[in-house]
């Protein structure tokens, strides 16, 4: 099935099996940031932005992407906004094994787009779909807090 969608700012027109999941598609085109963790929408390691909202790519079938806009961490990592989140994660020691980190970063960006200065509770809700198997939640929350203190207009236009 020919599917037209936008991936990381680029228009894609490709003959894809509509029942392939987005997380699998990303892997097959060497976008390795989104991890296949649980495969059932529990862990958030495969988080991407779908039309600007946080989404779990293991639950999205390619056929449903017609006309949609997908942002993976590969598309986000070269932006200034990413650099700010990265800096905060490094400063707060918010990374241990790193498995959950791409998903955490994408969930953080999705949260900051809606709530540029999130409260502790808003962070808890915004990142509620992302598990850290090293249980580094305190440091991760601190990193998001720090990103929320930055004076920046978080935007999808880059």
């Amino acid at each position: 099935m020919i599917i037209n969608f936008i991936l990381d700012g680029k228009a894609i027109k490709e003959d894809i099996d509509p029942c392939l999941r987005l997380v699998d598609y990303l892997k097959l085109c060497n976008h390795d940031g989104a991890r296949y963790g649980c495969g059932e929408g529990e862990c958030g390691a495969c988080s991407v932005l779908l039309n600007g909202e946080s989404a779990l790519s293991c639950l999205v079938l390619m056929g449903s992407l017609e006309g949609k806009n997908v942002l993976s961490i590969e598309g986000f990592k070269n932006t200034n906004q990413y650099k700010i989140i990265e800096k905060c994660f490094l400063k707060a020691n918010a990374i241990q094994c790193g498995y959950c980190t791409p998903g955490m970063v994408m969930a953080t960006f999705a949260l900051l787009l809606k709530k540029p200065h999130p409260t502790k509770n808003e962070i808890q809700v915004g990142l509620s779909g992302n598990l850290c198997r090293c249980t580094g939640y305190v440091a991760i929350r601190k990193a998001v807090m720090m990103a929320g203190e930055e004076n920046i207009q978080w935007t999808l236009n880059f």
């Binding site: 509509p18 495969g39 059932e40 929408g41 529990e42 988080s47 999205v60 017609e66 509620s128």
Partner: protein
């Protein structure tokens, strides 16, 4: 269009496709995609019938209020309900307890109903409020109460050519909601209770209560609710133990992988106590 994945843009187009062949409606995919996943990633999933993706049908994406009822489109996501200024705060409580933030961006109210899980988080609320499910096919439209729509775990009376288009449901002011699960909202619920009561002129004029997770279906006893109406505030307080023992006598629970029946009955006793003690 690929034969195994149909992508209609309008309701009419969808109904024509459903009239032609049996399809599985796909909305957010939060249950359907998980159920049909394979052991090994990187391969397309297989489904027993073609999928019909309803997420692009504009008619299914609105929330309006008329005649005192919310008209909630089947594809409205849990987060859209939570963010809607039209919907009252108590109504939103169960939706805030559904899974995690990104999953609430994807899952829909229509999907939660059609999935007919015994632990569907929105179901006790919809039972208490006597929600009406609007089913439309090319030939007819019918409106069915949720208690008749769901007939068992994963089973509904939706016919193959029908689509849930919207849910008609009144607001839920002054309502009680608790979901008990392993780890907050993220885990599948073990037991849940949605209930509401109110007094007018010091007499009970509304009492409705539904429990989820105990058995195959959400449980509610409407004739008992009606029997309680008219009690004074004092009588109601005195009846508390009787009310709890009545519900325990009709609530049979079954063991499931998440909890034993003994555990469930203890939890529901605690929740009933909690609800009845609230001023």
């Amino acid at each position: 269009m690929d034969a195994k994945f149909l992508n209609p843009k309008t309701l009419e187009e969808a109904l024509i496709l459903l009239n032609n062949e049996e399809c599985i409606p796909l909305a957010g995919g939060t249950d359907l995609v998980v159920k049909n996943r394979k052991e090994s990633p990187l391969h397309p999933l297989d489904f027993p019938h073609p999928l019909i993706f309803v997420g692009n049908i504009k008619e299914l994406h609105s929330i309006t209020v008329s005649d005192g009822l919310y008209h909630i489109g089947a594809c409205i996501t849990h987060n859209e309900i939570i963010d809607s200024p039209l919907i009252d705060e108590d109504f939103k409580k169960p939706f805030k307890d559904i899974a995690s933030f990104p999953l609430r961006n994807q899952g829909s109210i229509g999907g939660n109903i059609a999935n007919a899980s015994p632990v569907g988080d929105s179901l006790p609320l919809l039972y208490v409020l006597d929600a009406q499910i609007v089913l439309v096919s090319l030939k007819k439209k019918r409106i069915v109460p949720i208690s008749e729509f769901i007939i068992g775990p994963g089973k509904t009376i939706r016919e193959k050519d029908e689509l849930i288009t919207e849910i008609l449901v009144p607001p839920a002011p002054y309502s009680y909601w608790r979901k008990v699960s392993q780890k907050g909202t993220n885990s599948i619920g073990k037991v849940s209770l949605f209930a509401t009561r109110s007094f007018k002129d010091k007499k009970l004029n509304c009492f409705k209560l539904a429990a989820g997770g105990l058995g195959a279906k959400v449980k509610r006893d409407i004739s008992y609710e009606n029997h309680l109406l008219g009690l004074t505030v004092e009588e109601f307080k005195e009846e508390k133990e009787m009310i709890i023992s009545h519900y325990l006598s009709i609530f049979s629970a079954i063991d499931d992988p998440r909890a034993s029946k003994e555990y469930k009955l203890q939890v529901i006793t605690n929740l009933l106590n909690d609800f009845l003690k609230e001023e």
